[in-house]
Symmetry: none
DNA sequence: AATGAATGAGCATTCATTCAT
DNA sequence: TATGAATGAATGCTCATTCAT
C-alpha cells in the first residue's frame, strides 16, 4: 500500500474515533484498529497523538474550503453566496457528523493546548464569510454599518451552534433547506416585523 | 468551616482550574491545592472528577440565569430584552473568562461523555432567548415566520462564537456595547440595505 | 508504615533487582513487587527510575564509607590501614554480591547517562585510598614517587576486578584473607624478587 | 560490495555507536545509519542486537591480542613484557575510547545477559598477563609467592580502572608513559620505601 | 470531617525484528 | 543481497480514587 493511502486511512480513522470518543478518550490503538494498521505504523506518519488531531483539521477543513470555494465561484450575488455557504456548511455537518464534532469540540480544545498552532485552515474557512460580506458592502447590498469581522463570527457561530445540536441528538425536526432559509432570513432581514424600528 | 463553604470553595477552584487547563488536563490535586483542601476531601463533596464539572456548570450557569432573569423582569419590550440578554452574556463572558471557557469548551466535551446528563441549566439558559422571541411574536414585533427553536440557537451561537474568540485572544478591538449593538442590528434588522430584497 | 521505612525498603529491593537483572532490564514493577509496594508508590519517593539507581549508590556506598572509616579510625599504620581497606572491601563485596554488581556494572553505566551526576559518594570512597597513601608518604613509609591519584585507581581497580570475577562465578578458590594478603604484598612490595631491579 | 566488507563495516559502526550511547541506548537504526546500510541488512549478518555486541568484542579484542602478542614476541624480559602490555593497553584505550568504553561497560553488562557466552577472547587477553608472570617466576624474577591468577586480575583491574577514568573525563593530566611507569613501579617494586617491611 | 499516603489500572510511544518487494 | 515499511510487544510513569488514621 502506498504511503499516501495509509496516511489518509489513518486520518479517516482518527476523524471517526475522535468524533466518537473525543480526543482525550481516544486511544492510539483505537485509531490503529479502525485504520487496520499496527499501533506503531501511526508513528511513521505522525509525530504524536496531537499531531494526528491537527492533521485531521487541516485535511478535512481543507476539503471543505475547496468545495465551498468551487460553489461560490459560480455565483456573484452576495446574498446568494452567503446562502450557499450556509447550506453547504449545514449539509456537510449533517452528513459528516464526525467532522462536525471534531470541528466543534476538538478544535476548541486544541486551541488551548498549543498556543503556537495557528489554525490557518479554520481561519481561512471563516474568512470566506467576511469576504462575502465585504463584497456585498461594495455592491451596496449589505449595510456599511455591518462590521465584517464581527458578523462573520455571528454567522459562523449561528451555523455552528445549530449543527452542534444536530450532532448531539438525532434531531431531524429541521431540514437543511429550512434551517438554511431561516438563518438567511434572520441574517439578511432580521427578526423584526417590517417597519418595526430598532429600540433606542 | 461549614460544609457549604467548602463545597463552594471547591467549585470556585475547579472553575478556575478547568478554565486554565481544560477538564482532561486538570488534576484533582490541582483543584485541591487551589481550594486549599486535601485531595481526599474533594471526594466528600463530589462523587468523581466529572461530577465536579457538572456542578460547576449547574452553579455558574444557575447564577447567570438568576441575574439575567432579574434584569429581564424590569423590561417588557422584546427588542430591548434581547439586547439585555446579549449584553449581559457578553459582559459576563468577557469579565469571567474562566466561566466562558468552561461553557464553551467543557460543556461541549461533557455532553459526549455522559449521554445521561441532561444539561438542564444550560437548556434553561438558552430557552430564555426563545421565550423572548415568542413574546415578541405575540406582540407582533418579531415576524411569525421566525422559528424560535432555531433562532435561539442562532442567537446564542453568535454570542458564543464571539465570546469564544475573546477568551482565546486578548482581543479588545470591540467593546461589549459595540458588539452587542452590532449583534442586535444583525438579528433585528438583518444585514441588507433597507429596501433590498431577499434572493429568490 | 513510616516513610523512612518505605524509602529504605525500595532501595533494598532496587539493589537486589538491579543486581540480578541490570538497570536496563530491571522493571519498575519488579522493584515494586520486591519491595511489596505498588508501582506508583515508588514515585512518591523517587523522581524516576534513574533516580532510584543513584539513590542506591548513595545509600549503599554511604554505609560502606561509614564502616570503613570507623575501622580505619582505630589504626595508624598506613600499611595496615590499606590492608583494612582491602579486606573490608573484599569482604563486603563477597558477602553482598548485589551491591558488588551494582557498583561494578551500574556505576559505570550511569556515569555515561548523566554527565551532571557527580558521583560524590563513590569519589569519597576511592579517595580514602589516596588519603592513606598520602599519610604514608608523610610518614616516609610510602615512596614519595608514588602518585596518590594514580595509585588509588590502580588499587581500587585491582580490588574491583577481583571482586567482579567473584560475582560472576561462584569462585571460592581464594579466600578474602588470602586475596587481601596477596594484593597487599603486590602493592606494598611489588612482584619482584627482592634485590631484583626495575627494567631500564 | 563484498560481504566481508559489510560485516566489518557494521562492526565498526556498532563499536562507535555502543561506545557513544551504550548498548541499551543504542538503536539498530543508529548502527545501520552509521554503517550506511538498511536496518534489515544488519540481520543478514547478525542474529540479533546482542550478537553484534559479542562480535564487536571478538573482533576488537582479537585485534588487540594480535598486536600485543606481536610486540611481546620481540621481548624476553618478563619485567619489560609486563610494561609492554601495560603501555599497549593504555595507549589503545586512550586512543580508541570507543573500544575502551565497550570493554569497560558493555563487557560487564553482557556477562550477565548471557550466561552461556564464554568470553573467550577476553579471557585470552587477560591470560597474557598471567603467562608473563609465570614466565617471570620460572626465571626467578617474580616471587613465587605471587599467585598469577590473582595478580593478573589485580594488574588488569588497575589498568582498566585508570583507563576508565580517562574515558569519562578528558583527563590528560597523566601521559600514557607516566602512567605506565607508575603502574610498573607499583606492581614491580610496590609502594613501600626500600627497607620498609610488610606489616604483621 | 479531613487528611494525604498508597494504590494500580491505564496508555503513548519506542524499537528490535520481520518480510514483501 | 538489500531494502525499509510495517509490526506489536513491552514499559515508565500518571493520576483518579480509596482508606487507615
Amino acid at each position: 500500500m502506498k504511503a499516501a493511502n495509509k496516511h489518509s486511512k489513518i486520518i479517516q480513522a482518527a476523524t471517526k474515533v475522535f468524533a466518537k470518543k473525543g480526543f482525550f478518550n481516544a486511544r492510539i490503538s483505537d485509531i490503529a484498529k479502525e485504520a487496520k494498521v499496527a499501533d506503531g505504523t501511526i508513528y511513521l506518519y505522525f509525530n504524536n497523538k496531537f499531531d494526528i488531531l491537527i492533521s485531521v483539521f487541516e485535511e478535512e477543513i481543507g476539503n471543505l474550503i475547496e468545495q465551498v470555494k468551487k460553489l461560490l465561484a459560480k455565483e456573484s450575488d452576495p446574498r446568494v453566496m452567503l446562502k450557499i455557504f450556509a447550506t453547504k456548511h449545514l449539509t456537510v455537518m449533517k452528513k459528516n457528523k464526525n467532522l462536525a464534532e471534531v470541528i466543534q469540540i476538538e478544535l476548541r480544545q486544541s486551541a488551548k493546548l498549543i498556543k503556537d498552532y495557528r489554525n490557518n485552515k479554520f481561519s481561512e474557512y471563516v474568512n470566506i464569510i467576511s469576504s462575502i460580506i465585504k463584497l456585498g458592502q461594495e455592491q451596496n447590498i449589505y449595510r456599511s454599518s455591518i462590521q465584517p469581522g464581527l458578523a462573520k463570527r455571528a454567522f459562523f457561530g449561528a451555523l455552528d451552534e445549530i449543527s452542534r445540536v444536530w450532532t448531539m441528538s438525532l434531531d431531524t425536526k429541521y431540514t437543511v433547506e429550512d434551517t438554511s432559509s431561516q438563518v438567511m432570513e434572520i441574517f439578511l432581514s432580521g427578526m423584526l416585523v417590517p417597519g418595526m424600528e430598532l429600540p433606542e
